[in-house]
Symmetry: C2
Subunit: 95 residues, 2 copies
């Protein structure tokens, strides 16, 4: 039998057979942790699980967050209402 | 005496004598409101003032937030520690 390389994200032990995916996942978790740390530092007593979930929400929607910061704040509202999702390529084309 | 054009941001009645500044301020407040709305929708019972302050913090640091989403999550930590601020032009140059 062959031996197959696997990649483990040591933040939560998720396994990947593709390094690029593992790197992207690790970067997403790092971004989530940074958002969570920032939130926890600003909102005293915030529920840890809720703060983590919010960090993940922003990290998992980082394209919309970046677009909102670049002049399209309304895109943030679409994070919770995918039905009204602006196609990212279309939004970028609209510049 | 002359009559001078002024621009009022109707979100909080802040006055400007420069339209471009007024527009930028209005856009920043809109971004802050969107972040606050997203946070309030995700973290039940969060203190309204704290949620507003967090929205403003992200909106006032939108360059760092966008940069964090584009692959430099560590930049978020600099929002609270300006001493270690990466010069944005330098960070962009580093690509």
């Amino acid at each position: 039998m062959a031996v197959v390389a696997m990649w483990k994200c040591d933040r939560d032990n998720t396994m990947f057979d593709d390094k690029k995916q593992a790197d992207a996942y690790d970067k997403m978790l790092e971004l989530a942790e940074q958002f969570t740390a920032l939130l926890e530092s600003q909102v005293a007593g915030i529920d840890e699980k809720a703060a983590e979930a919010f960090g993940l929400l922003l990290a998992n929607n980082k394209e919309q967050v970046a677009m909102a910061c670049k002049g399209k704040p309304e895109v943030l509202a679409e994070i919770l209402n995918p039905a009204s999702v602006t196609d990212i390529a279309e939004a970028k084309a609209a510049g």
